[in-house]
């Protein structure tokens, strides 16, 4: 006898598909932010399912800081090829070269904040009125208060004090010309849900999410990869080889690895279930600047 009950993953999937379909039905020109990270991989997987059997009726946008892991860029290109979708790349390097943004003079300085300019430029040039992002409310305190349909003004800014109430599954998509929405179908997912879903659906991920050998060095208690954009300075300890994986994927300059032997989603789930440190706290130098780091960047137009 059927109990007519969905598992928590199937309920989250049904909610996300409903959200994605509302966007496709009510907006002129959607796009999906695809970084190659696990959340955006799950988001893309859900978008493909929501639109099936149609091809994805909107492009994916990648803001390329120029400091990405090469494995992630290769993965991005593979996914785009396999799924037959349109990819738009906004290059932070090109905006630096054109003099639109100025990089911090320290070699290997983070380009996290610089992405905001490039992101907003690409969105404005494309005239996108709804942009899917893979943000989750469990990631961070400011995100815990953001709506699933989050209105951005003409400057791409988020204003937490004037957020519209969001009730039931009825989403108010009305907006003025020039304004757009960021839409977060994974709002109610946790890191553990993402991994369980990756396992259940066999969602492909970049290989750096699983344990591998890599040259790393310690800085501020974090394990950073030795690479073209992140070299140990004389103040850092000597690099060493370790078996590591990544819990989040951002720039090589600010994303830290954790020591791990997990090579499958199941093993990652086991490690995640007993982890005592949040994924952003463990691995993202960009969120450590101030208590309100994420809120500030979101106000300026960040993802």
């Amino acid at each position: 006898m059927t109990t007519y009950r969905l598992s928590h993953l199937d309920a989250l999937e049904a909610e996300a598909i409903h959200i994605i379909r509302e966007v496709v039905a009510e907006f002129e020109k959607p796009a999906l932010l695809f970084s190659g990270g696990k959340d955006s991989a799950v988001l893309l997987h859900l978008a493909v399912k929501a639109c099936w059997p149609q091809r994805l009726p909107f492009p994916v946008v990648h803001v390329d800081t120029g400091h990405n892991f090469p494995e992630v860029i290769a993965y991005r290109d593979r996914q785009v090829e396999t799924l037959g979708i349109r990819l738009l790349v906004g290059s932070v390097q090109e905006d630096i070269d054109r003099g639109h943004i100025v990089e911090h003079p320290t070699p290997g300085a983070t380009r996290n904040r610089l992405q905001i300019y490039t992101l907003l430029r690409v969105l404005e040039e494309g005239g996108y009125d709804a942009v899917f992002g893979g943000g989750r409310r469990d990631e961070e305190k400011a995100r815990a208060k953001e709506r699933i349909f989050s209105l951005r003004d003409e400057f791409g800014q988020w204003n937490p004090r004037t957020q519209r109430p969001e009730l039931w599954n009825i989403y108010n998509t009305r907006h003025r010309p020039g304004e757009h929405f960021r839409v977060f179908p994974l709002s109610n997912w946790t890191e553990l849900d993402i991994w369980q879903y990756v396992e259940q659906e066999a969602v492909p991920l970049p290989e750096i999410y699983f344990a591998h050998r890599r040259q790393v060095f310690k800085r501020g208690g974090m394990l950073l990869a030795v690479g073209p954009f992140s070299q140990p300075t004389p103040r850092d300890e000597a690099p060493f080889e370790a078996t590591v994986r990544y819990r989040t994927v951002g720039d090589m300059t600010c994303t830290a690895a954790i020591e791990s032997t997990a090579v499958t989603p199941i093993q990652v789930i086991k490690e995640t279930a007993v982890s005592r440190v949040s994924e952003r706290g463990a691995t993202r130098a960009d969120d450590r600047f101030s208590e309100a780091a994420m809120e500030d960047r979101k106000r300026e137009g960040y993802f």
Partner: protein
């Protein structure tokens, strides 16, 4: 694993943040770095103890002013269930947040300070929960340590609230004596209150029976999108995408399309993972019909002998959420299921005093956080059910056409005709 969504509410200082902090911490959802950050902030603010409220106060203005502005969503899981908490702020004027938090909740946890007993705000929150169709209400009588763990006090509060609750439509009311600070009856049963033989809060949340709350009787399928892929192998494909709002649908079932009234039957229930034999809420599926009919977004599929009300005039309870008052004559946008219509507020029948449940029929307007009964006429016919019987087809939002702000949450009442 099943999902349970619940909302929490209570007055300022009744220990709600401590309770949530403890649920998260004891179920290992608070990470060490988050706790360290909170400890550092508490120290910087000059708090005498680690202020667990800082775990949930996400925005700078909230931390600076020491208040919570907005609904915050929190997540934790036990081996039995995954939980989503809508944590609603405590101050008096935030009915709006309570309505928002309750709209997606299965259950509401209300905190009461054992020394004070139920306050005006407890009654207000319980009333809102009841209006929003919440079937399960849990009253946590907190700070029992400060009244000597006394059974007599607990029973007094219980009797007092029982009297009030008889006027509400809550079918399952549970009382739990507790000390969130000491951890008694939050996750573990209390050692101090041997006289209490009920479950701890967490145990109750894990076990409370919610699957009968859904409406599995009245099949309603608001059409979200018509899917017609342009490709050679799928050129005859025409599917209707949507989320099952209520009821169960099976392949072969006869259906009626509203508003056209045309009949057909379910040819297939499709998903990206393959076809299904049946679909039920809250599944997102594609339905294919055995006939080619003219169907568009905003239409509804239902069973021939079980149809919703159809009409342009309806009566509803609304919670007003805008600084600008609502007056009869207002013209607004309405979104109901997947349908947008223009709505004219023809009349205000009464304003409900949520503390006394008194109906003020002299009220001329609804101001921010007011709840009242209105009559509305819409430009398009709506396919609706009474909210109490069907959340999916009984709810709507009103949107201001100048600012595009969401200004009201509406719950449709039984047609009076």
């Amino acid at each position: 694993m099943e999902l349970l969504r619940f909302a929490t509410a209570g007055s300022v200082d009744d220990g709600k943040s401590t309770l949530i902090g403890r649920l998260l911490f004891d179920s290992k959802q608070v990470f060490e770095d988050q706790l360290e950050a909170v400890e550092a902030s508490s120290l910087a603010r000059g708090d005498e103890y680690t202020n667990l409220a800082l775990l949930t106060d996400g925005l700078r203005a909230e931390r600076e002013q020491g208040i919570t502005i907005d609904v915050a969503y929190r997540y934790f899981a036990t081996p039995k269930r995954k939980f989503i908490i809508a944590d609603t702020p405590g101050h008096t004027q935030h009915t709006r947040n309570m309505v928002t938090g309750c709209s997606t909740a299965d259950l509401v946890v209300l905190l009461v300070d054992a020394r004070m007993g139920p306050t005006e705000q407890t009654r207000r929150h319980a009333t809102v929960a009841s209006l929003l169709g919440i079937r399960h209400l849990v009253l946590c009588i907190n700070k029992m340590d400060l009244v000597g763990w006394e059974r007599k006090r607990f029973e007094e509060i219980r009797r007092e609230f029982d009297d009030f609750a008889t006027r509400l439509q809550v079918t399952d009311l549970t009382y739990i004596p507790m000390s969130a600070l000491e951890g008694d009856n939050v996750v573990e049963r209390s050692r101090e209150m041997k006289w209490y033989d009920g479950p701890s809060l967490l145990h109750h949340l894990e076990e409370v029976h919610i699957s009968s709350d859904r409406n599995l009787i009245d099949f309603r399928f608001p059409v979200q999108r018509v899917v017609r892929p342009i490709s050679s192998e799928l050129h005859d494909f025409r599917g209707y995408a949507g989320q099952v709002a209520s009821g169960v649908v099976q392949v072969g079932d006869s259906v009626v399309v509203l508003p056209s009234g045309f009949s057909s039957s379910i040819e297939a229930i499709e998903t990206a993972d393959g076809p299904l034999n049946e679909a039920y809420p809250p599944m997102s599926v594609l339905l294919r019909l055995s006939d080619d009919l003219d169907i568009s977004r905003g239409d509804m599929l239902c069973r021939p002998h079980n149809q919703p009300s159809i009409g342009q005039d309806l009566s509803a309870m609304v919670c007003w959420m805008s600084e600008e008052p609502l007056q009869p004559g207002a013209k607004l946008w309405m979104k109901h299921t997947t349908r947008w219509a223009r709505a004219l507020v023809k009349g205000l029948q009464y304003r409900l005093d949520v503390n006394t449940l008194h109906r003020d029929q002299q009220a001329a307007e609804l101001v921010l956080n007011d709840i009242g009964r209105i009559d509305v006429r819409t430009t398009l016919p709506l396919f609706y059910d009474e909210y109490r019987l069907n959340r999916g087809t009984g709810s709507f939002v009103l949107v201001d056409d100048a600012t595009n702000a969401t200004v009201a949450a509406g719950m449709i009442l039984r047609p009076t005709t």
